[in-house]
Amino acid sequence: MIKKILAIAHGTLTEFIRNRIFMFLIIFGLAIGVTSSLLPAISPEDKTKLIFRAAFSMTGLFSALLIIYFIATSIHRDIEEKTIYMVFSRPASRFMYISGKAIGFFSIAFIMVFALSGVTLGYLMVVYGRDMQDSRIYKPVKYIKGHGPIITGEIANLELASAGVGLIGDGSSAIWIFRGLHRIPFKEDKVQISLKMGGINVNSNAGTAFVGVDILDKDDKQLQPTQYAYVGSWNPDTCVAVDRSIVVQNKELKVKVFPSGKNFYIAPMKNDTAFLLRDHCSFFGNYFRASGFLFFLVSLLSVITLSSSAFFGQKMALTLSFFAYITGHTLPYLKSFGSLIGMKSIAEMQSFMPGHGHLHQAETYSKLPAYLIEGLHITVIKKFIIGFSSIFPDFKRFDPAEYFLHGAYIDNIILLQTVAYMLFYGSIFLAFAWLCFWKRELVSR
């Protein structure tokens, strides 16, 4: 059976390669080139990070569009052009056909994602080669996750930050505390501490600023000179180096972060994290691990398209698959939207959506037409939206930028968790595809 499934998979892959869809790579390369030259002009974020962020988004989008189109047309063509007769007139079951097709589509997803990632990397290597080669990726030591932050000093603009911890301005600071550091067997001379913050509010046109970071012991004694780290309002994370000797000699360390100027505020959130990182792998290794996330996403999307193609015609399958792609990426918003339906005041909405950044969102939702705010039917719509967004796969889980751009190593556990998530949903959609195809008559008049 395996041989037959692999033969069908091989046929699917050959079809993809011979259809010259790879010409798409050239368009993609050009798109990356244009983006990389335009984006730095419109955003203050670090240029390389910005381009990688755009490249990941574009790789995901291009791969998704391409795979959806290819699968929907491939299955449709098999049925309409009756090539499927030549498979089912052989000792190949419908289960084998769907399984073989799925494996073929996974192979295509693999080739496509890594080819597009390769094109991106190749382009960026030519433009920013040396900087990237020198980069190192740091692995988070997960069991020493800093708790906090604890805010000291003046807290500004409380009304804006009612759902967060508070905005800290000049003269105030946020402190993260690390405990049990002496248990970690560090080999490197330097240890990196990465701080993820809710946001930076810069009250100037520059949009960028520096934060000061102090490393203190449990008695608040400063252990090394203050380091200043560059942050941008779009990228409020920072990473500072700490001497190994400081880490191994102290059971507890405090990391104090404060704005280095008067014109901006840091907005730490309750769920902000700080990671202790250690030197782990090369930039390239982590880059391709990040691309793996996209591969899992495109694979899941290919199974979704396969199941819709097994049941519907080409146009309907294309529509549903694009709908799934958009829904999967906007699921958290959809869930919020569902929860907000029926709420009658901004205050009620804000209490549901913590964080000052959601104020605008809450205001937008509050302007929804009356029929979405009131009425008995709202309960049904609300429950449907919340229910749907709870069971549909969340594509944000496959966002590689989340890890990669923060310089964090994507370890095997994270990869395995993502694979498990993909396999869980993939199996459900694949089972649906088998079921649809099992019952489907292959001849129509």
Binding site: K82, Y85, M86, P91, E441
Partner: protein
């Protein structure tokens, strides 16, 4: 057992196509019953829309009968295992056109779990048999209709099947190709294969089929041995050597004297197809000389 004697047994088969969300129904096959004996070549005839293709689709398990039963090689047509013993040439070339001849045969061979060595040998034999040796590396989308038909025949035989379904096997072929296919069918019958041959070209069917099944509007109209069905009751046909004008006169006189009624008499002709094949073969032989 009947299943051993008959390769195909169809009893009271009916297939009705229904459209989703519509009350419209089309009865493609209507209470059809027939059988195909092991080792015979059975011609499956009928005008367009007679239900031939639907019956073939039912035989291959692509469709489920609305009512009635089908047995193919003693099994239900949907049984995957039974396909191991069936070869199928569809009406048109439903192949992946991005493959070349070698690859398509390899692909279909893999679906039979053939050993790579056996498969390779079989592919070489079949490509040679259908005369595509020179074109074996060309993509199928570049093939002419006749070449596509040839590769279709090759793929139908890749598993050395017991029962072969040929849907319009000679369509798109030139007379020489047609003759070769007919010769091949005769050869396959001699090798013990059972063949169901559907065709619009009645001369092709007549030349090779042992038995004929004629459908119209989904119903069985006529079924029986070809010779029996086509024989003109009460008539005898014989050919004599023509030695000039006297021959006809002598035969007429002999008939009159003995009370034999001649219904037609004239110059013996060959079919245009026979003439074409003979002429092309002669040109070929002269060129070789």
């Amino acid at each position: 057992m009947a299943a051993q004697k008959h390769v195909v047994e169809i009893n009271n088969l009916t297939k009705v196509y229904r459209q989703l969300f519509s009350s419209r129904e089309v009865k493609a096959v209507d209470n059809l019953s027939f059988y195909i004996r092991r080792g015979e070549v059975c011609g499956f005839l009928g005008p367009n829309g007679a239900g031939k293709t639907t019956t073939i689709m039912l035989l291959l398990g692509f469709l489920k009968p609305t009512s009635g039963t089908i047995s193919v090689l003693g099994q239900k047509p949907s049984h995957v295992g039974v396909k191991e013993r069936i070869g199928f040439l569809p009406e048109e070339s439903y192949f992946y056109k991005f493959f070349n001849a070698d690859e398509i045969l390899d692909y279909y061979g893999s679906l039979f779990n053939m050993e790579p060595k056996v498969k390779r040998q079989r592919i070489n034999e079949l490509i040679e048999m259908v005369g595509l040796k020179e074109a074996r590396r060309r993509r199928i989308r570049e093939y002419s209709k006749g070449m596509q038909r040839r590769i279709g025949i090759a793929q139908a035989l890749i598993n050395d099947p017991e029962f072969i379904i040929l849907d319009e096997p000679t369509s798109g072929l030139d007379p020489i190709g047609t003759q070769e296919v007919k010769d091949l069918i005769i050869y396959l019958r001699r090798s013990g294969k059972t063949i169901l041959m559907s065709s619009h070209l009645l001369a092709d069917v007549q030349g090779v089929c042992d038995r004929i099944i004629l459908l119209h509007q989904g119903r069985l109209i006529v079924e029986g041995p070809t010779r029996e069905i086509l024989s003109k009751k009460g008539c005898i046909r014989f050919e004599v050597q023509d030695d000039g004008e006297n021959t006809q006169k002598q035969i007429r006189n002999f008939a009159e004297q003995n009370g034999i009624k001649i219904t037609s008499m004239g110059e013996a002709t060959i079919t245009l197809e026979e003439f074409f094949v003979k002429s092309i073969k002669n040109v070929g032989n002269n060129n070789i000389q």
